[in-house]
Amino acid sequence: MALAPLVFLIIFRYGPMLGNIIAFRRFRPGGSIYGEEWVGLRYIETFVNDPTFWKVFTNTAILGGLTLAVCFPLPIVLALMLNEIRRAKFKRVVQSITYLPHFLSVVIVAGMVIQLLSLPGTVNQIIQAAGGDAIPFLQRPEWFRAIYVGSEAWQTMGWGTILYLAALTSIDESLYEAAKIDGANRWQQTWHVTLPGIRPTMITLLILNIGGFLNVGFEKVLLLYNPLTYQTGDVISTYLYRVGLVSNNMSYAAAIGLFQAIIGLIMVMSANLASRRLVGTSLW
């Protein structure tokens, strides 16, 4: 029974991992998928000396960092606030509505963002109503990061609360009783009982988020950026997409991709190790 899924994993997940060997071998279209001959570290050297690579690396780190800083805490705050709502029905409605964007295709989200920020779009209507001038947001590099992080927060914040709400229900009620007897008010109860109660969930999700740090929403960036916003919008994945699949330099792109994947792996492992050392919980 495990055979079919195992074959699937080996071909479609481990096959491409091995395929990364073309980062060290010259690949010719139509030839072996594992390349034709060894070229050593040539492609690695190329990207290390490529100023565009370092530009997109910086963009990726900034965009990933901003996303982490904004999109990681928001669900926690929202879950805590939802938890304070006493009317079950109201709470359910809010939850249903905030989960909804999670189910949208990134194409739809990008479409909505473009419509909202277009010159006659809602945001510019508000700006003009307030007496300002319309801004062509999608063509201004200085706006790209805000647009990306904002749309990401809109889409992920509600769904992110699910796991926290689950963790909140599993906190022992008697801890709250004890805290109350000790004279803790609601804020103190939240600080000393609720937050420690959801700490394992927070750490698990933080480790997972850190691992995805450099993988920042490739598809969404690809849909939202344009040559005018490359300066801030171009990230490692979109650059390697252009180098590899558009300009057909597969080996060079594979080298960049491998570098990105290895950094991701190292970051997950270090985050995991750090959390095990510091707080005693870890993914494995």
């Binding site: 939802l82 509505i97 949208l104 699910i162 796991l163 344009n226 390697l240 991709g257 997950v268």
Partner: protein, 285 residues
């Protein structure tokens, strides 16, 4: 604490408005005239109400063809994914199994390290999957997250049932099909929803591997429409209010509405299940 309750409730109402606004706006635009959208008059109420754009989109052959492709990819992909996920998760849930740790490890490792776009592209090209529906359907057919959710659901099923069935002479497959699957309707429903949403929304696989527009899913059709409009916008055409981009805005809104519609229709009914499904998988992880 009263003040906080009031603030909290107000905050939630505002949040819901922000979450819903883009949906309402797209819906309003889809019923509005192009001229009204162009002058920025449309927010939540259609201006110049008409259904002409709907008629135009719904009588367009390419639209229907690509919409049909999406349905086909979703059904096929979900079916394949369910077979792979369910069978693997069931095997992994058997704690006495030798090599179970290794089987789990093989799957989980792929969550943290992956081949990347280029080797995937090279592999699928070499397998001759380009410009076939398999390039869209096959690569996404096993999500490790879903696998883990299912595994922990199976682990929580009462062992006694299976033991009793075994004594009554049922083999592995008999137990699986006649005992385990009927007991797992909730998690199966959740997984079907997750996979079908994943396939319904996918555009990138098709974008990479399909060149023939008659194979495109509706998301890619929409993406090309949006990309066309925004390219024109970056060239400054939008500033001049060119009709081509504005007509696109109108048609885009209709296409977006029709693409999201199926999700919005099933969402209220299945929402309860997937929330329990995710919690089941995560809390006991």
């Amino acid at each position: 604490m009263r003040a906080f309750q009031v603030f909290n409730a107000c905050f939630m109402v505002v949040l819901c408005a922000v979450m819903l606004y883009p949906f309402v706006m797209v819906l309003a635009q889809s019923f509005s005239s192009a001229a009204a959208i162009r002058s920025g008059l449309v927010s939540i109420v259609p201006v110049g109400f008409n259904v002409d754009t709907y008629v135009a989109v719904l009588t367009n052959g390419t639209f229907w063809r690509n919409y049909g492709n999406t349905v086909l990819y979703t059904v096929l992909g979900t079916a394949l994914a369910m077979v792979l996920t369910t069978s693997y998760a069931y095997v992994l849930s058997k704690k006495h199994l030798k090599g179970r740790g290794a089987l789990i490890g093989i799957a989980v490792f792929t969550m943290f390290f992956n081949g990347g776009i280029v080797p995937n592209y090279v592999l699928l090209s070499a397998l001759g999957m380009k410009n076939t529906i398999w390039a869209v359907v096959v690569p996404g057919a096993l999500s490790v997250f879903n696998l883990l959710v299912m595994k922990s659901f199976f682990e929580n099923l009462p062992v006694e049932m299976e033991e009793a069935a075994q004594i009554d002479g049922l083999g592995w497959y008999g137990i699986f099909f006649r005992i385990v699957l009927p007991l797992s309707k909730a998690v199966i429903a959740t997984m079907v929803l997750f996979y079908s949403v994943q396939y319904w929304n996918d555009w990138f696989g098709a974008f990479l591997y399909l060149n023939k527009s008659e194979l495109f899913p509706i998301t890619l059709y929409l993406r090309n429409m949006i990309a066309g409009a925004s390219n024109a916008a970056s060239e400054g055409a939008a500033a001049a209010g060119s009709t081509s981009t504005q007509i696109a805005a109108n048609i885009q809104a209709v296409t977006m509405t029709l693409t999201v519609l199926p999700i919005l229709c099933v969402y209220p009914f299945v929402q309860r299940y997937f929330v329990t499904g995710v919690m089941l998988g995560s809390v006991k992880g």
